[in-house]
């Protein structure tokens, strides 16, 4: 049970990453590799501020803002300096590695003695359960109060972020953003600066990804300069699973799907590890999975006779 709760918690934290990746990869069709750096950046900024006795809320928000700045940089490199999108991301990601080391001052910051989001969730949780028990019974299972509270806390954060994102995509600015990814020529002819929208979108995307990193560090109790490696592929895997789960193009369902995909993917990984999968193979298998998910639809189309959409 503890294993399941742990997997679900990390899955939900990484759902924020998945939402960020969804924004750049799917809304803009922009392969933004900055994510690998901004996960760590969010974790680094939040951790160092926690060490300096900032409140978890402020530290987490600062992590989010750091991601916003990183995304803005990638966007500016791409739009104003006309650097290829993939390369802009790689440049910022590489630079962030040094920045992260400077922010942290060393390659790893433990947070065991600081008050983190997890501690706050725990104190709320035990107050809610009205006692100082460290575990309780849920449907016959013994559940740690700390684990359950953290899960509930992260769930609320993801719910709020998902809702805000969904509502944002229905505003004038949000619909312009979707249209920019869909048809830049059209939205430009309607008076929207495509450059500005891409910068804004990447800022938002990396903000979410850094937020994910900030929460992840507080959950696992440390920030590490290596923790971002392969995170883009991880997020992409979640988004792809989510799309398969909901099977719809509706924006609300896709947001829900990305969250569900992230949790499901994390659960699958937890089970696979339990069954004896070598943790060293995890990134290889994730990459293979994304590869398979990317080529399968095209293969299926080739095998099946083409069905023409009915023109009316």
């Amino acid at each position: 049970m503890t294993l399941l709760i742990g997997a679900a918690t990390i899955g939900l934290i990484l759902a924020l990453l998945a939402l960020g990746v969804y924004l750049s990869f799917r809304i803009f069709n922009f392969p933004d590799i900055t994510a690998d750096g901004s996960v760590t950046l969010g974790a680094a900024v939040a951790s160092i501020l926690l060490v300096h006795q900032w409140s978890p809320l402020e530290a987490t928000l600062a992590g989010f803002l750091a991601g916003v700045i990183a995304g803005t940089l990638t966007g500016v490199l791409h739009t104003k300096f006309k650097i290829n999108g993939l390369l802009s991301g790689i440049l910022v990601m590489t630079a962030l590695y040094s920045v992260n080391l400077h922010v942290m001052g060393k390659s790893n910051i433990p947070l065991l003695n600081e008050t983190t989001f997890a501690d706050q969730a725990e104190s709320f949780g035990s107050a809610f359960l009205g006692g100082d028990k460290s575990e309780f019974l849920l449907a016959g299972w013994t559940v740690g109060v700390r684990d359950a509270s953290m899960l509930a806390g992260v769930f609320l954060v993801v719910l709020a972020v998902g809702l805000v994102l969904y509502l944002f995509f229905r505003t004038n600015l949000g619909t312009s953003m979707r249209a920019t990814g869909d048809n830049p020529q059209m939205i430009c002819a309607l008076g929207v600066s495509v450059d500005f929208i891409i910068i804004l979108g990447l800022a938002l995307s990396n903000g979410l990804i850094a937020l994910s990193g900030a929460l992840l560090a507080q959950y696992q109790g440390f920030a590490d300069v290596q923790m971002g490696i392969g995170m883009v592929v991880w997020g992409l895997a979640s988004v792809i699973i989510g799309e398969a789960l909901v099977g719809s193009k509706k924006i609300g369902l896709l947001i829900t799907g990305a969250v569900m995909g992230s949790v499901l993917f994390r659960l699958l990984v937890a089970i696979a590890l339990r069954w004896g999968l070598n943790p060293n193979d995890l990134k290889l298998i994730t990459a293979l999975f994304v590869f398979a998910a990317l080529v399968t639809p095209a293969l299926l189309r080739k095998l099946r006779p083409a069905v023409k959409p009915s023109a009316t």
Binding site: T175, D182, A189
Partner: protein, 270 residues
Amino acid sequence: MLELQNLVKTFNPGTPNEVRALRGVTLTLERGSFLIIIGTNGSGKSTLLNAVAGTFLVDSGGITLANQNITKLPEHRRARLIGRVFQNPFSGTAPSMTIAENLALAARRGQPRGLGWALNPKLRQQIRDRIRSLNMGLEDRIDNAIGSLSGGQRQALTLLMASWLKPDLLLLDEHTAALDPKSADQVIRLTHEIIQRDHLTTLMVTHSMQQAVHLGDRIIMMHRGQVLHDLQGAERARVRPEDLLNRFEAVRRREQLDAGVAEMLQSNYI
């Protein structure tokens, strides 16, 4: 209303691919006039439209629209004054978004976009009413993705979007060339209706001599980046499709002559 002063544009200057697309185009258009642009392939008619729209900045010359000098304005800032319909029916709409969302985007053409709701019941009702006037049966499908519609339907909607806020200038770039004849007729009829109703100043590029003769109140024929003929007033009223074709034929003969002369010079002197 629209004033083009000696527009010059060369693509890929100084390379073997150099194309002198516009070689000094000067044109004045009155408010409410409907100008048809014809010309051979590569004559610069689409380039002229794109120069006005701001797809690129011209090398020299000036563009004034509605008493504003827009020569240096980037494309998205000209959009406040200009409505456009492209040749490709897929270019004017965002396929994965709904009909209503696409029109809502067009309803704020050139205006700042903040965090207000893109759609509200009042706007939805307006959208439904205007779409009903197309007589395409789309008014009950405004929440369907626009990508599921046919080229003709999408082009009709693009036209509706371009004219939603009456633009100071409407640019139509061979907007029926990619459609089947029936859809093309429908879109042309709609074009005529909208331009008549709102008295829109219009620039339209076309390959169809029929359209050139039946629509519009002035025809210019472009050749090699310049205005070759400018038919207006009584001359425009008399013109028939055959006359236009004859003028194309004359251009073609002269081209061949030019090519022949060039060859002779080359064999004699090189």
